[in-house]
Symmetry: C2
DNA sequence: CTTAATTTTTGACATAGATAAAAAAAATTA
DNA sequence: TAATTTTTTTTATCTATGTCAAAAATTAAG
């Protein structure tokens, strides 16, 4: 890491859940590397096991999978959020997800090996993971509820609420596949209000 | 705890993810209490903050919420699974979920206070939570996919796959609300095959 | 700038699944 | 075991959203 100011972004993120000792900060700084991706660039390919986690410093990433030849968006990650192929990273096996950059991206990158090292040596990292996964789990539960008992319009409103800050940066087609509706339907919903 | 054999069930569960030291086993045994619930009994009420987690030893529990006066099943927990109101437990705030017993239930009960104590003193408990939440997160992702791009029949098949062992113990109406389809539709799907 | 490629919008039509109401079956209680 | 309540099934319509096709608008490339 050259830019010590930049890394503060991810430190601040950790510190929302845990206290970072100087030792841990040093260990993190030694292991985190910076990567950049051009808009449209593929960051992770489903034919590979995912062994990295990206923390976005600037830009927008998307996890998606292919169904019947079409890209189905699974989730979007923006500034100060992680992006990876969760199950692949956890189980060290293949999963269906691709990751690409919707905008030019600057990201911090932590390898699985380094993550494991940190979990083994810093219990507070385990806590961080437990707490932040709890938050994500909550979002998923809300999303499941939103998927089940709402009209297409309500689904879209729920999307607008959860991706409040970044919804305008995501193309309509990607939003439609994320919501499980057709882009025609979404276009009509937008036209009405 | 009187029955030392019984508590092995939950020890074995922990040991799927972590090693349990004798110290931790003792601490757990001191804190876990047994509770029983009759079929139909309300275990957790949405007007209360959830401050307990139940690990089911025998029977079947359900988390649900009320929408337009109807009970919408969120998830089911059977033997060797946890049941609680996740976000309420995590944030110490109210959430929408009720929990009831679909069958007579015998469960181990751990209070939030005791959970916190264990997290604070046993880093391996943090790891256990991280790993088991990862598994749950994977299930949720699959469920979200299943909710979005499949017909009612495919949703039902996905339910049968995920609740393979216990699907026959869950009433049709509860399954329908879990899947976000009407019970009439589910009844027709069952009739066909 | 001009052309090509991609994304979004619009229109016509089809259909899976919702809704409503009532009968049948199963489970619970007296 | 009869009576009551709850759950499931069936029948008949209705509607939101999907599908297909093509035009318009936007973005990217030469």
């Amino acid at each position: 890491m050259k830019n010590t100011e930049k890394i503060d972004l991810i430190f601040k993120h950790f510190e929302r859940h845990i206290k970072l000792s100087d030792t841990l900060k040093t260990e993190l700084a030694q292991r985190i590397i910076c990567k950049t991706f051009k808009k449209g660039e593929l960051v992770h390919h489903a034919t590979k096991v995912c062994n990295k986690s990206y923390f976005i410093q600037k830009g927008l990433m998307r996890a998606y999978f292919i169904k019947d030849g079409k890209e189905i968006s699974e989730y979007f990650s923006a500034e100060s959020e992680w992006c990876n192929s969760p199950r692949s990273l956890r189980t060290r096996q293949l999963d269906i997800y691709y990751i690409d950059a919707i905008e030019d991206v600057e990201a911090f990158c932590l390898s699985l090996v380094d993550l494991m090292y940190l979990f083994d040596h810093f219990p507070e990292m385990e806590r961080y993971a437990r707490l932040s996964m709890g938050t994500i789990l909550g979002h998923f539960m809300e999303r499941i509820t939103s998927m089940r008992f709402t009209t297409a319009k309500e689904k879209y409103n729920h999307f607008l609420a959860t991706y409040c800050d970044i919804h305008h940066r995501i193309p309509l087609g990607m939003i439609a596949s994320y919501l499980g509706i057709t882009q025609e339907t979404l276009s009509r919903i937008r036209a009405k209000k």
